[in-house]
């Protein structure tokens, strides 16, 4: 059955569009408050060191300096687990990350901060802070970190293994395992067993707007924060925990946000700006430089994955075994659990084991990379496995024919899964006298969600998309709303908007009933028109009735708060054609197609945009991007020149194919679309490189150096020729 929609699946201009193409939209760095000071952070030049002493006594002598803080200014924190928005974390670790006290654990770790009348004075002031370090050996690789004799990052960290803690401290934060059936028995049934190891590099989300926050700790001990964040309520909660303030005294205004990709959920600057504001009595604005963003925010973890899969000759997968290790950087908190849930989620496998030791962040990409490297993975895919869209994967692509035509061209296919999130959302809808409505929501708009949420309300209300005016509100003006992340916003905040719209209609029917002297049950609503039951001639449009609100009892506000349980898993398949230059190792993407199940594409242009953007980011991670550390653990490529993300010239047009298999857990069938596009590109490209070169790559990035080493053009193989 096809449903006829009037707004959904159209492509209206986004409500915040004009502000964003004219430069008027207010992003984090555009906030201007009277009397604002500029805050700057002193950061560790060392990757691993004990802090012997921090002396800030010289700083205040510098004219123009108004405040200086260290970790000692944050309240003591215990080992309690707190809400970080998308995930949870240990409060003490969060505190130590905000401003280090006893140890620094990465190059760029924050140590102290100053606020001054200008940025230049603040920078001068940082030079007056004296820190004495005792250098400790760095730990730079996940498997190295898991060794018994590895230098310890946290002397008090005891591994939590399979639900139990015990033993002595180690760098392994957590060990989880999923077991299904009998893997050994399964492998005995297999005719073909493939086992591989795969490693991925630590990579950054690469949002173009650096982190920025402005805080005002007022004389009444109420704190107001303006910041670029994926979740204003998450910022409020973290600041409350870190600063020892009740949430009732903190109000967070989310500004427009210049990209996040999961990286703008944890707080970094907000609590520090708050401390500086409390001390100075003035607003304090802090912005990171690009190098600070690379060094001191939360990149995607590097990983090591071993995957073993067994299949019968007729192409049935009978067993799978995966060992997954994530490096989370300085503190526990890598999303190993998500990885273990995604690694085999695409397949029906009767026997499996997934082992995940976590070295003290999102990523199913790593696991899927390993799974997709299995040349047999395609065999087991059927229409049922992929929600009815299986035809696009059974694609051997005439490998031999292509290779004989152009030796260094290849085609690769890979398929990715991500489970998407639900979480909490709130909306209110206020009916205006002209028959338009204001939609107040708590989800910051990172890629067009004002449009996709307003369109869902408009569909229910029978209004044009333009008649729903969305507003992203601060934490005092809308109900609790979880972060814009986990591909959840159009799904979950969409449901809140739909339910709030139904609440409006319920109240409007009562008003029509009052006018017509009927019971509200005797008023029907369809496509924007209220009709008296039994008297089809008696009708009022939404706009006509909206004009009668004062006469019928006053304003109408619809509201809804939701915690939806019916999130729909996301599937995407990438098909890539590429060409390798044998002399330089450069890979050119000739053609790239992404086929993705959106459930229902509310605004197809922005769904396509998510698919294209995720693919582009995945291509960057596959071919180029990585954190480069020297032996002492200094990040040596902390700029967009050296951490090279794909430019327009590096990419072809990315062809999006939207598949719509409705999610039964959403009234219009919405699934999240934002994250799954990034899962499979590295695997598709690895498969295409195998097709082109006959070489199976197992490490990301597959950059020119890796390709030339593998083909023997450079490195040991070349020099022995």
């Amino acid at each position: 059955m096809t449903t006829e929609y009037r707004v959904i699946s159209t492509r209206p201009i986004r409500p915040d569009g004009v502000d964003k193409v004219t430069g008027r939209a207010v992003y984090g760095a555009d906030v201007r408050l009277t009397g604002t000071l500029i805050g700057k952070i002193l950061r560790s030049p060392h990757a691993h060191a004990r802090i012997r002493r921090i002396d800030v006594s010289q700083v205040r002598a510098l004219p123009g300096v108004k405040a200086v803080v260290t970790g000692q200014d944050l309240p003591e924190a215990d080992d309690r687990i707190v809400d970080l928005g998308e995930d949870t974390g240990n409060l003490k670790h969060l505190r130590d990350n905000i401003l280090a006290t006893d140890k620094v654990l990465y190059h760029g770790h924050a140590i102290a901060a100053v606020a001054a009348v200008s940025a230049s004075v603040a920078e001068e002031a940082l030079k007056l802070i004296d820190v004495e370090y005792e250098l400790l050996p760095p730990v730079l690789d996940v498997r190295e970190a898991m060794r018994e004799d590895a230098p310890l990052l946290h002397e008090t960290l005891i591994t939590e293994s399979l639900g139990e803690t015990g033993g002595r401290p180690s760098n392994v934060a957590e060990h989880i395992q999923h077991l299904l059936g009998d893997p050994e028995q399964g492998f005995r049934q297999a005719d073909v067993i493939v086992e591989r190891e795969v490693a991925t590099a630590t990579v950054h989300q690469g949002y173009i707007e650096p982190h920025v926050a402005t805080a005002l700790w007022n004389a009444d001990d109420h704190l107001t924060i303006w910041c670029s964040t994926q979740g204003a309520f998450a910022v409020r909660q973290q600041c409350a925990d870190l600063l020892g303030l009740p949430v009732s005294r903190i109000r967070v205004f989310p500004t427009e946000i210049g990209g996040g990709f999961g990286g703008k959920i944890n707080v970094y600057l907000e609590p520090v700006a708050a401390l500086l504001s409390r001390q100075s009595g003035r607003p304090v604005q802090m912005a990171m430089s690009r190098a600070e963003v690379f060094r001191a925010t939360g990149p995607t973890p590097g990983s090591w994955v071993r995957v073993k899969m067994g299949t019968t000759r007729d192409g049935r997968l009978v067993a799978a075994d995966a060992e997954i290790a994530f490096e989370a950087g300085a503190y526990p908190g890598s999303p190993i659990s998500a990885a273990t849930q995604c690694v085999f989620a695409c397949y029906y496998i009767p026997n499996g084991r997934i082992d995940g030791p976590v070295f003290p962040r999102i990523g199913s990409i790593e696991c899927l990379e390993a799974a997709k490297a299995n040349p047999h993975y395609q065999a087991a895919l059927s229409r049922e496995d992929v929600g009815g869209n299986g035809n696009v994967y059974a694609n051997d692509m005439g490998a031999a024919a292509l290779r004989s035509a152009r030796a260094l061209r290849g085609r690769g296919v890979a398929h990715g899964f991500w489970f998407n999130a639900g979480l909490q959302s709130s909306c209110t809808i206020n009916v205006s006298v002209d028959g338009s409505v204001q939609l107040v929501e708590g989800s910051t708009d990172i890629g067009g969600t004002r449009a996709s949420i307003a369109m869902q309300a408009a569909e229910v209300l029978g209004l044009a998309a333009e008649d729903v005016k969305p507003v992203v509100a601060d934490t005092a003006s809308v109900g609790y709303t979880s972060v814009t992340g986990g591909s959840r916003t159009t799904y979950a905040t969409g449901i809140a908007a739909i339910e709030a719209a139904h609440d409006v209609i319920r109240q409007m029917r009562e008003r029509a009933a009052l006018l017509w002297e009927l019971d509200s049950e005797e008023v029907t609503f369809d496509r924007g028109v209220f009709t008296a039951a039994g008297n089809p001639g008696q009708q009022l449009s939404f706009k006509e009735l909206a004009a009668e609100l004062e006469e019928t009892g006053g304003p109408i506000t619809g509201r809804a708060t939701v915690l939806p349980e019916g999130r729909g898993g996301a599937f995407a398949t990438n098909i890539v054609d590429l060409e390798v230059d044998p002399d330089t190792g450069k890979v050119t993407i000739l053609r790239f197609t992404i086929v993705q199940d959106a459930g229902k594409a509310i605004h197809p242009s922005y769904v396509e945009g998510q698919m294209q953007g995720g693919s582009a980011q995945g291509i960057g991670w596959a071919l180029n991007e990585e954190y480069a550390m020297d032996e002492q653990g200094h990040l040596v490529n902390a700029s967009f020149l050296d951490y090279r993300m794909p430019t327009a010239l590096d990419l072809p047009m990315i062809d999006p194919v939207i598949v719509e298999v409705p999610n039964p857990g959403h009234p219009f069938g919405v699934r999240g679309v934002g994250e799954v596009p990034i899962v499979a590109p590295p695997a598709a490209i690895a498969n295409a490189l195998y097709h082109a070169l006959g070489i199976r790559f197992s490490h990301l990035p597959m950059n020119p150096r890796a390709i030339l080493e593998a083909t023997g053009q450079i490195g040991a193989a070349a020099s022995s020729k």
Partner: protein, 171 residues
């Protein structure tokens, strides 16, 4: 102790401020800047023109693209003092009372932005391209835009918006 009379006095170092007479978005503009202040800092912090965005402050992302005497530049790599006697166009100078610039309209219609932080820079870069090459090929557009990073869109819709604008302006 000297305090700033204004909430923002930029990143200036020292007292020897320079008087700069320039033309910004077709208006004669006077400003005082420190010798070390970039054009980006002058625009954002001295003049309050915050439509020009900072993404890296080292010339590698293009978010601060502006047009200087008809040439596309990164405002973070130009000193404020250098624009004395010159003409600067920023994102604030594109729309007129009659409406949006055709590129701005095309970016909206083609959904060529997601988070929008890189958008002013891309629109200025595209304008500089179309001013000198009214009918660029896709390859030419991609080459020209290679100094502007976007992490959200994969560039498809940006390239399409520019192609469409070029076609529209040719009519």
């Amino acid at each position: 102790m000297a305090e700033a009379p204004l909430p923002f006095q930029g990143r200036g170092r020292g007292r020897g401020r320079l008087h700069v007479s320039t033309r910004i978005n077709d208006e004669d503009t006077e400003l005082l800047c420190d010798p070390s202040q970039s054009l980006l800092e002058c625009l954002r912090d001295v003049l309050g023109l915050t439509g020009t965005k900072e993404g890296c402050n080292d010339g590698n992302c293009g978010a601060c693209s502006v047009i200087l005497n008809g040439r596309l530049v990164n405002a973070c790599l130009v000193l404020g003092a250098e624009v004395d006697g010159q003409e600067v166009t920023t994102i604030e100078g594109l729309a007129t009372p009659e409406g949006l610039h055709p590129l701005q309209q095309a970016f909206l219609e083609h959904a060529a932005l997601q988070c929008g932080i890189c958008t002013p820079g891309f629109i200025l870069a595209a304008k500089a391209l179309l001013d000198r090459e009214p009918q660029p090929s896709e390859e030419r557009i991609r080459f020209w835009l290679a100094g502007n990073l976007c992490r959200c869109t994969g560039y498809n819709k940006i390239v399409e918006a520019i192609t469409s604008t070029a076609a529209e302006l040719a009519q």
